[in-house]
């Protein structure tokens, strides 16, 4: 089934992953891959998730995650995997 990519970018702080993952768990979104790094004090995370079990629409989750991001001072984006696949894979 189609996957979704979540990217989290912003100033590093305590509990960013915890906050994001709590939201995902509460909404039945399964994390399949996660990688994270800090570049010059900036937090940079990418997750591959499966949202098929979630009862909320893509638009709702996208807006709510953006709000979670605002609370903790990072930018969270939700994008379907196909845009990256089509650009980087033939």
């Amino acid at each position: 089934m189609k996957k979704t990519i979540i990217t989290v970018v912003g100033k590093d702080g305590v509990g960013i992953i915890a906050k994001v993952c709590t939201y995902l768990a509460n909404n039945k979104i399964n994390i399949e891959d996660i990688s994270q790094t800090i570049v010059h004090g900036y937090f940079n995370m990418m997750m591959v998730v499966d949202m098929n079990e979630s009862s909320k629409s893509f638009g709702e989750i996208s807006s709510e995650l953006a709000e979670v991001g605002e609370e903790i001072g990072v930018v969270i984006r939700l994008q379907r995997e196909e845009i990256f696949d089509s650009m980087h894979r033939i």
């Binding site: 990519i5 990217t7 891959d33 990688s35 790094t37 940079n44 990418m46 591959v48 893509f58 638009g59 996208s62 984006r77 939700l78 994008q79 379907r80 995997e81 196909e82 845009i83 990256f84 696949d85 089509s86 650009m87 980087h88």
Partner: protein
């Protein structure tokens, strides 16, 4: 599995380098809306466009949100109205009424432009084509979102010089009727040689009679992405330069292809073509002229500009063609003046003239575009400029166009502000030596020989 580096690359293109899908354009055939009664015809046009396009804007926004890629414009193109109004329009005012209908339904479904207020007269004009052309100044002065185009010539038919002469007058009249807004009407009026049937870009989009009932075309863009990619290969040779443009064009076009497929599936409308164009906007970093500078010119217009543009245009096509299943429309680099900050800078610096722009149009799409000229330029001079540009298209079997704005009440040295995507432009000087006797001859220029291909 997609890597983090790839995700970051894509998102940087979108966020920092202005990568976007420039337009989703729905082409709608209005051939089945023809009627002998004007009011019935208008009602059929409204109903058909509304039914086909009512979900266009929402679908576009959904796709934007899910893929995280901006889709700047959602637009509609329709069958040339010169055909549709032929059995019910007896006066230019009748045609203008259809223009008003198009404008109203465009606003109703929320698209920002609707194209196809057009006539195809490359060989000759029917009475209804003439009425449509004569109605253009009125139509563009009473509507906001209607775009008009006229195909005046082609490689197969030659150039209809009677219509070229008429359009010189029409452009002046349109400028006059919209002078309160700096002659904005002319920014929505373009004349063509070899106009494509499937162009998604305004102002020249119309739904050709060779097309199906309803189809979705997508125009991609991304001058900023190409510019940024070229920054990393400064000083390298032409092979490296060309490969870089090609790879970048491929990536940009793949996004367009994805969006086109998705839009087509969601709207239940066949996918038509991807238009592989580098279309600039007035935003900083979204400029084709800046790419030319990055290739190695001080300003667009410097010696070497035509060669640089030729290679850019060619590499964009080479990269893009492989990324999409169907390519069409105009497909090339656009060089509008007012919509490209780098071009504006070049004109202001004195590096770029009308004549150099004309030379540049020999090697790229599409033509003399969004060029402001003095308001007192004679209609015959405008016709002469049009004839020159169309001759380039006719002889080279390519699309060329003219979208020129004689700004009433303004002269060289002054600036005109169109706002939004149309941008602003310095008024450029025009060669004012007379071509009256040439333009007033009447008739048409025969089609050129191309090595007896048949």
């Amino acid at each position: 599995m997609i890597t983090r580096r790839e995700v970051i690359e894509t998102n940087e293109m979108i966020q920092k380098e202005n990568l976007d899908v420039r337009t989703i354009t729905m082409g709608i055939s209005l051939l089945d809306c023809m009627d002998a009664e004007l009011d019935t015809c208008c009602k059929k046009i409204r109903d058909k466009i509304y039914n086909k396009a009512k979900n266009l804007v929402k679908t576009g926004k959904d796709i934007e949100k899910e893929f995280g890629i901006p889709i700047v414009n959602k637009r509609i193109s329709v069958t040339p109205i010169g055909l549709i109004g032929s059995s019910c329009c007896r006066t230019p005012e009748d045609f203008a009424k259809i223009a008003k209908t198009l404008d109203d339904v465009a606003k109703e479904v929320g698209v920002n432009f609707i194209g196809g207020y057009s006539a195809l007269v490359s060989k000759g004009s029917t009475p209804s084509d003439e009425l449509l052309m004569k109605s253009i100044p009125l139509a563009l002065s009473i509507t906001d979102r209607v775009c008009s185009s006229v195909n005046l010539g082609s490689t197969k038919t030659g150039i209809n010089m009677d219509a070229v002469r008429l359009m010189g007058d029409i452009i002046k009249e349109t400028a006059e009727l919209t002078k309160e807004q700096d002659s904005l009407g002319c920014a929505k009026l373009v004349v063509f040689c070899n106009a494509p049937d499937d162009n998604p870009f305004m102002a020249g989009a119309f739904h050709g009679v060779t097309e199906g009932d309803c189809v979705v075309h997508v125009g991609v863009s991304g001058p900023g992405v190409v510019k940024t990619a070229l920054e990393k290969v400064r000083g390298e040779n032409f092979e490296v330069l060309c490969e870089t443009v090609k790879k970048t064009a491929f990536k940009v076009t793949r996004v367009g292809q994805l969006v086109a497929k998705e839009a087509s599936a969601r709207l239940g409308v066949p996918f038509g073509i991807i238009d592989l164009s580098l279309a600039p906007t007035p935003a900083i970093g979204d400029s084709v002229a800046d790419i030319l500078c990055e290739i190695g010119l001080e300003h667009a217009g410097a010696p070497g500009t035509t060669a640089a543009l030729a290679l850019l245009n060619d590499q964009v096509k080479k990269g893009g063609v492989m990324a999409s299943s169907y390519v069409g429309g105009l497909s090339g680099a656009f060089i509008p003046v007012s919509e490209d900050q780098g071009m504006i800078n070049a004109v202001e610096a004195g590096a770029l003239t009308l004549e150099k722009l004309e030379a540049m149009t020999c090697v790229c799409s599409v033509g003399l575009d969004m060029i402001a000229i003095p308001g007192d330029t004679k209609a015959t001079t405008i016709s002469g400029i049009i004839a020159d540009e169309l001759a380039i298209g006719m002889v080279n079997a390519k699309t060329t166009a003219v979208r020129i704005i004689p700004v009433i009440g303004k002269g060289v040295g002054e600036t005109v502000e169109f706002g939004g995507l149309l941008g602003h432009a310095p008024i450029m000087p025009v060669n004012n030596f007379s071509c009256d006797a040439f333009v007033n001859r009447g008739g048409r220029i025969p089609a050129p020989i191309h090595s007896f291909k048949n």
